[in-house]
Symmetry: C4
Subunit: 209 residues, 4 copies
């Protein structure tokens, strides 16, 4: 191991974090770009047109909070990793690809949530859009644990607790995805509920001894 | 308290500031994207079409300065906080959500300011768009004070002065919002006036003893 | 002076630089967004449509290099300032506003450069778009010098040399702007020539003694 | 040499890296903006419209990974340079210009890959879009080596290995570009294959003695 760390710079994880923070900050701020200015003709009301965009505002708030939570999560748990390797870095890029994809399902949800014919599809895509980063993060987490990149002073119980929590997220988003074929609103309630749950403070790291 | 700070990294607030600075920088730079290139047909004048975009240029300048002021403000006053907790972090994300939303009311104002039928609505939305971050920042500030996250060496008078100032901002933006239903131009003058006022140097922190 | 610096953090200019670098990086990367994917109908050639975008590619390259030069310049000369004050910070925001505006004239130039009826207007706007940051930087520079924010160990001759250079840039861009009313191509040649000139290495700081 | 380094700040390469990282992070996150929300009329299926965007999703994934690899590469190999000069900085800006351009060929590929009449052109442009940063990085690399900006403790064999590798990339992308005139799919397979190859871990720096 000392071999592989020979030329490993001490600020290695810091630069990955900085790049990741950049992607989070940009993805979160790009969300607003997807809400287009409504075009109203003479005789129409801009106020009405702005009210009609409520699904877009809702999708904006939901996705902003989700990306914000992922940022805070990445920020808190990435520092449990004290080593890094090539495929870990690539898995992190794949995770970021899922985060950066979120503006698209958000825009589709905003556009079609109040369209009864297309609502189910829009919610399915949105649930899928949330499953992707959940799965991406789970992959980063499991890879990092299997390869022994985490701080070995952490309690095994604590690590297991996090693994279970990340697995559960994946199952719940996959469940919401499946449910969206039956009832879009129920699926959306699960997704929003999970988001609210994630707003609770995360469990602090517990160290051995 | 020493308990909660056990695993609190020294650069905790610095990373929140870095993420916030990222959102500020992106939101401020995205403003220009909302000004579309005018399409002129043969026989029409591009120069005229460019002049007709004056409300968009005005809205760009106003919002750029507003986000710039919020950045400088966040930058100056965020360092009065010497501790951080989970909900403080979340409130900061909500504040950033309001900052990142600003390009939308800016684009609507640019599009409809010279449309007499829709002007009032556009100004109402813009005043609302400025009230949101003012309220977001007030929430961050009050929460941080109530939870004792601020540097305890700061003079209570100084802290009270800032609280009153932030409250006043909220009242004035809410006032501009209400006025916009009566007279859009008066509301806009208040908003621009407040912006100019904010360009004055902020009061420097005063420490006890 | 020791008074005003009491609570001045040592990394003050570094954070302004970080924010400025963010705006530079975003503005430079947003340039590509302004080049829309051409829509071709059946029977039309995508290759032809892509060739027809040559003014957009040219404008992209020119503005990318310009913003890159401004970044390198800001990066080199901002560190000659060893102090900062409130209005200096605001002038820097105004300068960044001019940088962030550049994608708009770039897009207009790309759209209308090969339209003989509108070319002059597009070039006028572009020259104006380049005059703005030149003037913004000149303002930052002169304010910083007048207020004594520059490192006093720098040779007065060196400072004067830079002032003259920045003044000259402004005069040349203003000249290009005026010329664009007579002949768009000549104005564009001046603008491109200036850009090439700026690619030469800047004169290194000279210190007293 | 000591002369030129007189006023060279120790964090010189770090700030260039930070700016470059910013451009990478923005370019990678902007990719999603190019995928527009499909507009479906009553009676049409949103699900079908979303499936029809598969070339856009594919192009998104491919370009995201490519920019991610370039980021990791820049990140790993830029630190082999221990000195910097003016033209090195400019070449790095030119390289970033090629990276920031990538969203455009990506969008064109996404739009026209399943259009048999335009596919060849779209793939040619995409191969060209990948050749550009490969050539840009080769230029940065060769310039840095010729000018002696690399760490002299590195083994000449190792440096030669990297030069050959970068040259090969250029030849392969140029080959894919030429092949795209004959068969777009074969060219695309080469491009995708190269991307997968780049996912392998890079050879670690070898130092003398």
């Amino acid at each position: 191991m000392s071999q592989t760390q020979d030329h490993l710079h001490p600020n290695e994880t810091q630069r990955i974090e900085a790049f990741s923070d950049g992607v989070f900050a940009i993805a979160i701020t790009l969300l607003i770009i997807e809400i287009g200015v409504p075009h109203v003709d003479a005789g129409e009301s801009l106020a009405d047109a702005l009210w009609d965009l409520w699904p877009s505002y809702g999708a904006y708030v939901l996705s902003f909070i989700m990306i914000g939570i992922y940022w805070a999560n990445h920020h808190s748990f990435f520092r449990l990793f004290v080593r890094t390797d090539h495929y870990f870095l690539i898995l992190n890029v794949v995770f970021l690809m899922a985060i950066a994809f979120l503006p698209f399902p958000t825009a589709v949800l905003g556009e079609y949530l109040d369209n009864s014919a297309q609502r189910d599809t829009a919610v399915t895509l949105y649930a899928f859009g949330l499953l992707l980063p959940a799965f991406g993060w789970l992959s980063v987490w499991i890879y990092g644990n299997v390869r022994g990149l985490v701080d070995e002073r952490l309690e095994p119980d604590y690590l297991r607790f996090l693994t279970v929590q990340y697995l559960l997220s994946n199952i719940l988003y996959a469940g919401a995805l499946l449910l969206s074929f039956l009832d879009a609103w129920v699926a959306l309630v699960i997704v929003v509920g999970l988001t609210l749950l994630y707003l609770l403070p995360p469990r602090r790291p517990r160290y051995i001894g």
